[in-house]
Subunit: 136 residues, 2 copies
Amino acid sequence: MQYFMAKLKLHNLKFTPRRIAIIQLFLSNNIFTPEEIWNRLKKQFKKCGLPGVYRNLESLVECGILAKIHKIDRKRYYGLCSAKENIHHHHIICLQCGKVDDISDCFFEKKETIKGYKLISHYIQLNGICEGCLNK
Amino acid sequence: MQYFMAKLKLHNLKFTPRRIAIIQLFLSNNIFTPEEIWNRLKKQFKKCGLPGVYRNLESLVECGILAKIHKIDRKRYYGLCSAKENIHHHHIICLQCGKVDDISDCFFEKKETIKGYKLISHYIQLNGICEGCLNK
DNA sequence: CTCCTAAATAGAAATAGTTTCTATTTAATA
DNA sequence: TATTAAATAGAAACTATTTCTATTTAGGAG
Ligand SMILES: [Mn+2]
Ligand SMILES: [Mn+2]
Ligand SMILES: [Zn+2]
Ligand SMILES: [Zn+2]
């Protein structure tokens, strides 16, 4: 928790009860939608607004604690990002349990141009079944 | 156009005026949102519904004529997919003019496992500036 | 510890993008 | 030409997300 507190401080973000609770939910290494987070928070806090959850999730992404995860449905997903500081990396998601892991080898990181295009950015996401789920 | 007609036929989809017009818009090699397509179609057809545009764009993806493109905003984007049949590939988009090109080398295509995960699927999208825009 | 202020919050309302529904029309085949 | 599945418009519904306003709170300064 000290680790997260430091990251928040670095970005002038306060260490609030809501944020502590949200981070704790993500410590399971699962991915969640804003609404899923909200449903869980409502059990802990008698007052709890959905817009606040949205804002918090974005704040936590900004300071590198969470990562956005993409799925085919129209919802947003977030997962814990355990990579050190500003290291370029991508994520692999377990389609069964929602576990997230960092993938740090990236073929495109050093590439400057491809097919005549000057490369500006790229998005990669891998989906699979994690070791834990495979051994069940 | 014969080419597209054949692709549609293969999927039991009709070669309608709406679809012809939509394909023609994409022949510029640009990416468009459903609403952008709708705005252009409204100039050609006095009656033209947005739900129909949504349905058509999805149909055209299903039969391999269009590809879904992802951006950070909440909108859907589509672009012409010029790859032959079911060849595994990804896309690179010009951030300036919206041009789309196919990228066929894929590091992950043959990979079976990564970090203990059994790989099921992956999503890659490259963003850059195309040759045309660079030379302006 | 007390005061101060920027940051965080809830709740209501608004918005934007997308989907569903129903009745009508049309493309493609026989 | 007749038939029929597919396509369509338009209205309404829906869902995820954002904006707005007033109130509260975390964390630093004194
Ligand atoms: Mn990460
Ligand atoms: Mn393509
Ligand atoms: Zn990368
Ligand atoms: Zn690939």
